[in-house]
């Protein structure tokens, strides 16, 4: 199966400063369209509308958190196939293992290097089997 190109990405974080930085950092990658959301609920609604190729999710958010959002996405046939990458300040090995078990395609630790963020995201994208790419 031909590998899909990463073109549309949804980043969800309740911290507006970090959303702005991620948007700017990922904006360095040409051809990548970046959308942002501020909560788990917002992520579900935006994902249904935008059908992004990839969702980057903050883990700790008030209300529906990252893992909860991923679980809801997996149970929704319209969103189940969209790969999810967690971005978290709690990237201890046991937590990373838990996120993987939940079905995350990857985990990026915060604080991240903004000049390398796009590279990290594309590297994870390349590990996702072609059939699983949205």
């Amino acid at each position: 199966m031909k590998r899909a190109q990463l073109q549309t990405l949804l980043y969800v974080d309740d911290e507006p400063d970090i959303r702005q930085i991620v948007q700017m950092a990922l904006g360095l990658a040409p051809g990548l369209s970046i959308h942002t959301g501020d909560s788990g609920e917002n992520a579900l609604s935006l994902a249904r509308t935008l059908r992004p190729d990839l969702v980057l999710l903050d883990v700790m958010m008030p209300g529906l958190d990252g893992p909860g959002t991923l679980t809801r996405m997996r149970s929704d046939p319209a969103l189940a196939q969209i790969p999810v990458v967690f971005m978290t300040a709690k990237a201890m090995p046991q937590e990373v293992a838990r996120f993987r078990e939940l079905g995350a395609a990857g985990v990026i630790a915060k604080p991240f290097d903004p000049m390398k963020l796009a590279q990290q995201v594309f590297a994870i994208w390349d590990t996702i089997p072609a059939g699983a790419q949205a």
């Binding site: 911290e15 400063d17 970090i18 930085i21 991620v22 700017m24 950092a25 360095l28 700790m60 300040a89 709690k90 201890m92 915060k110 604080p111 991240f112 290097d113 903004p114 000049m115």
Partner: protein
Amino acid sequence: VVTALTGADGEISGYLGMLADITERKKMERMKDEFISTVSHELRTPLTSIRGSLGLLAGGAAGAMSEKATSMVKIAHQNSERLVRIINDILDIEKIEAGKLELHSQRIALSALLQQAVEVNQSYADKYQVRLALEPPADDAAVLALVDECVD
């Protein structure tokens, strides 16, 4: 702990057992681990914004800056990077306790390492009117070092 008690003839005459209730100690250890994890997370969130902004500025993603501004941003960026590493070190306490800490030395040009050490310690030296002078080593000299520990 169970120890065998032996008489003068070497024969085991009994056993001595000691028990200690460590429930409270384990509870304290758990609380400490949770505290470290929470504090490090609380620090990492604002640090993500600081490091991110400075990283974008230092990387030129927000456009060109004057030479002075570039120099100041570089210092702030380098120190935000250090802060990230210090917080990572705090998290390593758990690994030390579990006997799982791994120290990774890396190959680095000696001149770059020394330059970094001078920059990091310059403001401290200035405070005490101490002048730091660096005599550059041979260009190709490189060392295997734990960089942060050396710079500190």
